[in-house]
């Protein structure tokens, strides 16, 4: 491999990531990063992160998305958008991290029993079933799969909420549940096609490919 060239795996990751970036309004501002670290300084959880928000862009630029996808960072992001509103270059850091989360899950980079994944999976299941979230069911199913003892420890709190009439016992269903499920199914199919097509790309290290792709995407739209 020549310097500046990407391995096949990394090239695929990069293609998928750039495709995701296109789906963020203003996503191509990514290349304006000046590595100032305002994002890391604004982040309420950065001290728990193995890769700092600023380093996310650094790793991307250096052609190492794999390290990012394996990091604890993307799962610690709480979507508080502090980095996004403060970034002097207007980079949508939070939205980029959402994209990285989806990539890590699609590619099974992380273990399937990762808590946030289990929670997301149960959330999707509850919403698919009722059309709305049902807090009690979501939490119970999540804890049963990740930490049953914690479920037991939650009982006193649940009891207090029940007495305060703040525990919704039965889930409410959306009337047109069939229609909603058709919307979900259709959107899911499109998402799959999108993810699959996004892996066809020959890229290089750096930002070059980003602007080319962004221009191509604008034209196509």
């Amino acid at each position: 491999m020549k310097p500046g060239e990407l391995s096949r795996g990394e090239s695929e990751l990069r293609a998928a990531f750039l495709a995701e970036v296109e789906r963020i309004p203003g996503g191509d501002r990514l290349r304006r990063c000046i590595q100032c670290g305002t994002c890391s300084g604004s982040c309420p959880v950065s001290r728990e992160m193995d890769v700092q928000p600023r380093q996310l862009v650094g790793y991307f630029r250096a052609g190492d998305l794999e390290t990012i996808l394996r990091s604890r960072t993307i799962w610690l992001c709480v979507s508080c958008y502090a980095c996004t509103t403060r970034c002097p270059a207007g980079i949508k850091v939070t939205d980029l991290i959402y994209a990285l989360k989806r990539m890590a899950l699609d590619r099974r980079v992380q273990a399937r029993d990762l808590p946030i994944y289990v929670l997301s999976e149960e959330f999707v299941r509850v919403v698919g079933r009722y059309g709305r979230n049902h807090e009690l069911r979501l939490l119970a199913r999540y804890l049963l799969r990740t930490d049953p003892w914690r479920l037991l420890a939650m009982v006193p709190l649940g009891w207090k909420l029940l007495l305060a009439r703040r525990l919704q016992w039965r889930a409410r269903r959306v009337e047109d549940l069939a229609g909603l499920r058709r919307i979900i199914a259709r959107a899911e199919r499109m998402e799959e096609i999108y993810v699959r097509e996004a892996t066809r790309f020959e890229g290089t290290v750096g930002y070059g490919a980003l602007s080319e792709r962004a221009v191509a995407a604008r034209g196509a739209a």
Binding site: V78, V124, V127, R150, L180, I183, M190
Partner: protein, 289 residues
């Protein structure tokens, strides 16, 4: 005026007091909330982390339904507010994505023409109705109550929002006009930990505790929130810790506003707080009935 109303899932569950108090407040201020018929989950941060197109389509269904009757949709939950706004922006700025979402919506015979304005009730109350008008309609002053307005994340960020992302003041103005004292405390827009309370409790609890400590240290008697998840995190952490000293009640801003507009503490569900209300707030809330 009649506003379209999207309560969101939490307001049917643990945040029912938010729903009840908001409806009361809007009626007392001479406006009506008309609940969106057959609304569905907005997708929240959870769906966005897994499937983007689906997340946007879920929110777009609500917007499409709202567009049929009127052009304003008021939503009190911060996560719903952000998701609906984000969907609006993505559909407006990315024609490719909009086509996909439209295709999905068509499966249920729906379409969305970007005609809905998504608003937060705090925005409506402060900017449409106005702080002075609220103060004129108040039946009771909140004097002697020291409030820590907690804005959290997703109503002022990512923006463009109705208030400053780092130093919002709308709740301060509102409660100030009603005679309460809003305390200075830097954590007013610092994240409560959100879903980390569930997925990574060690980190989540620390973030929540930081916000509480900051409010307590600066002399607050009550935290006023705008978000169901913030309220849940801040309150239940204290309800779980056994009789921690200096516990502070955490209520929705509409519950306090309702008190000022003449509701009883019972009507505002204040006696359902899991944390003792404290002397001044208890006085304002009156005896449970």
């Amino acid at each position: 005026m009649i506003y379209g109303y999207y309560p969101g899932c939490s307001l049917e569950g643990a945040s029912r007091p938010y729903d009840r108090s908001l409806r009361f407040v809007m009626t007392a201020l001479g406006h009506e909330l008309k609940e969106l018929r057959d609304w569905n989950c907005c997708g929240a941060t959870m769906y966005m982390s897994v499937k983007e197109t689906v997340a946007l389509s879920l929110s777009a269904r609500n917007l499409a339904l709202a567009e049929r009757n009127g052009n304003t949709l008021v939503t009190p939950c911060s996560a719903c507010y952000t998701m609906l706004l984000k969907t609006q922006r993505c559909m407006k700025e990315l024609p490719g994505l909009r086509r996909q979402v439209d295709e999905a919506l068509a499966e249920a015979g729906l379409s969305y023409r970007l005609g809905v304005q998504v608003r937060h009730p705090l925005d409506v109350i402060v900017n449409d109705i106005g702080v002075e008008a609220v103060a004129r309609k108040a039946k009771r002053r909140l004097e002697g109550l020291r409030i820590a307005p907690y804005y959290g994340c997703q109503i002022v960020r990512p923006g463009p929002a109705f208030d400053d992302p780092d130093w919002p003041t709308s709740m301060d103005d509102l409660f100030g006009a009603l005679g309460a004292e809003c305390v200075y405390y830097p954590d007013r827009v610092r994240c409560c930990g959100g879903m980390l309370m569930t997925t990574d409790p060690k980190v989540g609890e620390e973030l929540t505790q930081n916000v509480l400590d900051c409010a307590i240290r600066n002399g607050a008697q009550v935290v006023a929130t705008t978000c169901p998840l913030c309220q849940m995190n801040l309150e239940t952490l204290q309800a779980r810790a056994h009789a921690r000293e200096g516990a502070i009640p955490v209520v929705f801003f509409t519950q306090l506003l309702g008190l000022a507009l003449g509701a009883s503490g019972t009507e505002m569900d204040l006696h359902h707080s899991l944390v003792p209300l404290g002397a001044r707030l208890e006085e304002l809330a009156g005896a449970p009935s």
